[in-house]
C-alpha cells in the first residue's frame, strides 16, 4: 500500500483529480475552500494498492486558516510515499510557489498541471518537459474534468529517484542553514533537516510547537543550537522572513517566464466583461436577488406537481397496505404504528421534501460550478465589514441553504477565529433544505391559496422570509461583534475564480444522488422512529387524554403568547433531530385528536390546520419560528465539533430561539392590538 497526498492551491481541481483516480464522488465546486477536511480513498494501479488523501487547498505551507493548517500538518508530519501537487495551468506562476515549498519538505513530488484545457482556451502554452527538467521531478499535464492525462499521471506514480530542485537563498542564509543542519541533523528523525533549519531561521511559533511535539524534543532547549541561532539572527537583517518568501516568489516568477508563453494578451476579457456587470453598482445587488428569486421560483413551481402526484400515490398505497394488514388480521395497534405512524410520516417527508430538493440542489450546484458564489461574497463584503465580519461568511450562508451543518463546517474558510465564530453562530438564520418545504407548504396554504396558481406570490413571500433571515444575520453579527465577540474586521483576500462552464449532466446526477438522497436518507432515518414514537405518545391514554395532549396542553399557554400553539411547539421540539419532520409530527398530533382522520392533499391539510384554530397570525409566527429556532441536532453537534466548546453550542441554540420567540411575541401583540 502506497500513500499519496494531493496538495495544491485552492480551486485547482484537487477533488476532481481525486474523484477521477478513485472513482469516488467527493463534492467539487468552483470556489476556494470547497474541501475543508482530508478526504481519502483507495485505488489500484498496476498491481499496487494506493491510498490517496485529498488535502484542503493551501497557498503556502505557512498556514493562516484552519483548513490550510490541516494540509500543512499532513505534508510536514504525516507518513506518505508521494505528494502530487496539483497546479492551475492558468495561473501556474503562483502555484509554483507551493511546489517550491513542498520540494523543501520532501523529495517525492509529482507536479500535476491541471486545467490544461482552460489554459489552452486562453492561449496559454506551458512547456511541461522544460518545467520537469527545472524542478527535477515528473511533471504531468492533465485536464481532470475531461479525464485527460490521467493515464500519464498514473504511470508516473511509480517513478523513483527524483532530484528535486531546491531554492537557493542568499549566501548568508545558505551559510546559516548549513551550520544549523550540522547541529540538528541527528535530532530531527524523519524530518528533512534543511527544512527544519530553514524554519528555525524563519521562525513561526505555531509551526515550531508542532515540530517540537513531533520530535518530542525541544530543539531550542539545546544550548548549542540556541546560541547558534541567536548569532545567526544577529548576523542576518530583520527582514529575514520577507527575504525568504521573496526569494521563493521570485524563483517561481523566473521559472514561469521560462516555461509559459501567453499567445494572447486579452485572454481574460470575456470573464471581465461579465464580472463588470455582475459587480456593478447598478446591477450587482439586483442580479443576486434576481438569481435567488429565480431559483426559488423554479423550485416551488417545479415541485408543486410531483409533490401532489406523490401524495396521491402514497395515499393509495397506504390504503392498500392498511387493507392488507386488516386482511392478515393484524391487531389495530400494529397497523396503527405501521400505517398511521411510520408510513404516514415517512411518505409525508418524501412527498414534501424530495421534489423541491431534487430541483434546488442541482440548480444551486450549477451556480457553484459556474463560479458565481465568490462573486456574491465579493458584492456583499462591504455589508459584512460594517458588521465587523468577513465577506466569506456569504459563502458559508450559501452552503447553509443546502444544510446548516455543512455551512458551519464550511466556516473554516474564514481566517479570523472571531469572524469564523460569528459565521458559525449565525448560520442557522439561513433556512436549510429541511425547512424550505415547511415554509413553502405554509405559504401555499395560507397566503397564496392551494388552487390559485400564483407561484409568483409564494416565491415573493418566501424571498421576504429569506431576506428577513439575512437581515437577522447582519444584525446578530453586528451585535456579537460589539459584545461577546468584540473586535475589528480583519483583513481578507478572496479569490474570484474564472467562470467555468458547468458540466450540466454530471451536476444534475451527482447533486441528486450525493446530496438529495443523502439528506433525504437522513430525514427518513429519523422519520421512522419519530413516526412510531408519536403514534405511541398519541395513543397512550390517561384519563381519556393522550400523553401528547398532556404535553401540548402544558406548553399551550406559553405557545399562545408567541402566536403558536402547544402542538406546534412540541413538533418543533420533537423535530430537533431533523427539521423536515416538524409538519408531519404536527399533523399526526392534530389527526390523533381532530375529526378528520384521512389526510390526502394540501387541501385536507388546510382543513386540519384551520379546524385546529390556525389563522394568518399562526402562519406568520410559524414561518418566523421555522426561520429562527434552535439548529437541528446534526448542526448542534457540528457546532460543538467546530468550536470545540459546549458553551458556543449552547449559545448557538439559545440565540436564534430567543430571537424567534421575541419576534413571534411581537407579531402576536401586533395582531392582538389590531
Amino acid at each position: 500500500m502506497r500513500i499519496i497526498a494531493l496538495a495544491g492551491n485552492p480551486n485547482v481541481g484537487k477533488s476532481t483529480v481525486f474523484n477521477a483516480l478513485t472513482g469516488l464522488h467527493q463534492h467539487t465546486g468552483n470556489w476556494s475552500g470547497k474541501t475543508v477536511s482530508n478526504a481519502n480513498g483507495t485505488f489500484n494501479y498496476n498491481k499496487t494498492n494506493y491510498e490517496i488523501y485529498d488535502l484542503p487547498g493551501t497557498y503556502s505551507l505557512i498556514p493562516h486558516s484552519k483548513e490550510e493548517e490541516i494540509a500543512r500538518d499532513f505534508l510536514c508530519f504525516d507518513k506518505y510515499d508521494l505528494v502530487i501537487v496539483v497546479c492551475d495551468a492558468v495561473c501556474l506562476e503562483r502555484n509554483l510557489n507551493l511546489v517550491l515549498q513542498t520540494l523543501e519538505i520532501t523529495k517525492n513530488v509529482i507536479v500535476c498541471v491541471n486545467l490544461l484545457d482552460e489554459a489552452e482556451k486562453k492561449k496559454i502554452k506551458i512547456n511541461l518537459s522544460r518545467l520537469s527538467q527545472i524542478l527535477g521531478v515528473p511533471v504531468v499535464g492533465t485536464s481532470a474534468r475531461n479525464k485527460k492525462g490521467l493515464d500519464n499521471l498514473l504511470k508516473n506514480l511509480e517513478a523513483k529517484n527524483f532530484n528535486p530542485y531546491q531554492v537557493k537563498y542568499s549566501e548568508k542564509i545558505e551559510e546559516a542553514i548549513n551550520e544549523l543542519i550540522c547541529l540538528i541533523k541527528d535530532k530531527v528523525k524523519n524530518l528533512n533537516s534543511r527544512w527544519v533549519a530553514l524554519n528555525l531561521i524563519n521562525y513561526d511559533e505555531c509551526l515550531y510547537q508542532k515540530i517540537t511535539d513531533y520530535l518530542n524534543f525541544d530543539l531550542l532547549k539545546e544550548k548549542e543550537i540556541k546560541e547558534k541561532l541567536l548569532s545567526i539572527k544577529k548576523e542576518l537583517n530583520l527582514n529575514i522572513k520577507d527575504e525568504i518568501t521573496d526569494t521563493i516568489i521570485k524563483k517561481a516568477e523566473e521559472i514561469s517566464k521560462e516555461v509559459i508563453t501567453f499567445e494572447s494578451k486579452d485572454y481574460n476579457l470575456k470573464n471581465q466583461k461579465i464580472d463588470r456587470i455582475i459587480t456593478s453598482k447598478l446591477f450587482g445587488i439586483p442580479i443576486m436577488l434576481g438569481m435567488l428569486f429565480i431559483i426559488l421560483w423554479l423550485t416551488i413551481k417545479g415541485a408543486n406537481y410531483p409533490s401532489n402526484l406523490l401524495f396521491n400515490i402514497f395515499n393509495n398505497v397506504g390504503k392498500n397496505l392498511l387493507d392488507f394488514l386488516n386482511f392478515l388480521n393484524a391487531p389495530s395497534w400494529l397497523s396503527g404504528i405501521l400505517i398511521s405512524g411510520i408510513y404516514r410520516v415517512l411518505t409525508w417527508v418524501i412527498a414534501v421534501m424530495l421534489p423541491p430538493m431534487a430541483i434546488f440542489f442541482p440548480l444551486f450546484t450549477l451556480l457553484e460550478d459556474l463560479g458565481f458564489l465568490p462573486r456574491i461574497a465579493f458584492n456583499l463584503d462591504c455589508a459584512f465589514k460594517k458588521c465587523c465580519a468577513c465577506g466569506k461568511q456569504a459563502l458559508t450562508m450559501c452552503m447553509g441553504f443546502g444544510c446548516n451543518a455543512v455551512g458551519v463546517s464550511g466556516a473554516r474558510i474564514i481566517d479570523s477565529p472571531r469572524e469564523r465564530l460569528i459565521a458559525i453562530l449565525t448560520n442557522v438564520f439561513v433556512p436549510c433544505n429541511g425547512r424550505f418545504p415547511t415554509m413553502i407548504t405554509i405559504i401555499t396554504i395560507f397566503f397564496v391559496g392551494i388552487n390559485s396558481n400564483n407561484t409568483f406570490l409564494s416565491v415573493f413571500i418566501l424571498t421576504l422570509v429569506i431576506l428577513l433571515g439575512f437581515l437577522l444575520t447582519f444584525l446578530v453579527s453586528f451585535f456579537l461583534s460589539k459584545t461577546l465577540l468584540k473586535g475589528l474586521p480583519s483583513s481578507f483576500t478572496l479569490e474570484l475564480p474564472p467562470y467555468r462552464r458547468p458540466q450540466v449532466g454530471k451536476v444534475i446526477i451527482r447533486s441528486i444522488f450525493d446530496r438529495t438522497i443523502f439528506v433525504l436518507g437522513r430525514a427518513v432515518m429519523i422519520a421512522i422512529p419519530a413516526g412510531a414514537l408519536i403514534w405511541i405518545l398519541g395513543n397512550i391514554q390517561i384519563n381519556n387524554m393522550s400523553l401528547l395532549n398532556y404535553i401540548a396542553n402544558f406548553l399551550n399557554p406559553f405557545a399562545q403568547t408567541i402566536g403558536l400553539d402547544g402542538v406546534i411547539l412540541i413538533s418543533f421540539i420533537l423535530g430537533f433531530p431533523a427539521n423536515e419532520i416538524v409538519i408531519p409530527i404536527m399533523l399526526m398530533i392534530y389527526l390523533s385528536t381532530g375529526q378528520i382522520i384521512e389526510f390526502e392533499s394540501l387541501e385536507s391539510l388546510r382543513k386540519i390546520l384551520i379546524e385546529n384554530g390556525w389563522t394568518i397570525k399562526t402562519a406568520i409566527c410559524m414561518l418566523i419560528f421555522s426561520l429562527c429556532h434552535f439548529p437541528c441536532s446534526t448542526t448542534c453537534l457540528t457546532i460543538k465539533k467546530e468550536t470545540g466548546s459546549f458553551k458556543w453550542m449552547i449559545l448557538a441554540i439559545f440565540l436564534p430561539t430567543i430571537i424567534g420567540i421575541a419576534l413571534c411575541f411581537l407579531v402576536n401583540q401586533i395582531f392582538n392590538f389590531l
Binding site: 493562516h64 495561473c91 503562483r94 462591504c382 481566517d415 474570484l496
Partner: protein, 76 residues
C-alpha cells in the same frame, strides 16, 4: 499612489507593502511582493473591496489593506 486609489483599468507595479502580520503573509502567498505587476479589474457595488489581477488570478482586497500598499502607476 496606493492600491486602494486605483481605478478600474489602472495598471501598476507594487512599490512597498506597509502591512504586517497575517495579511502580509497572505498577500505574499498570492505572489504580491514589491515589484509585482498588478491591474485593477473590478470594484464591488459598494466600491469596496476591489479585485485585482495578480499573477494571473483575480483577487479581492479590502480598502483598509489596499491603502497601505504603495503602487506606481504605469502609463500607456
Amino acid at each position: 499612489m496606493f492600491l486602494s486609489d486605483m481605478q478600474i483599468g489602472d495598471k501598476g507595479i507594487i512599490k512597498k507593502l506597509n502591512v504586517n502580520g497575517n495579511i502580509k503573509r497572505r498577500l505574499q502567498d498570492l505572489g504580491l511582493i514589491e515589484g509585482t505587476y498588478i491591474e485593477c479589474i473590478l470594484k464591488s457595488p459598494f466600491s469596496d473591496p476591489s479585485a485585482y489581477l495578480i499573477r494571473g488570478a483575480l483577487i479581492a482586497i479590502r480598502k483598509e489593506d489596499g491603502k497601505n500598499i504603495e503602487v506606481e502607476l504605469i502609463c500607456e
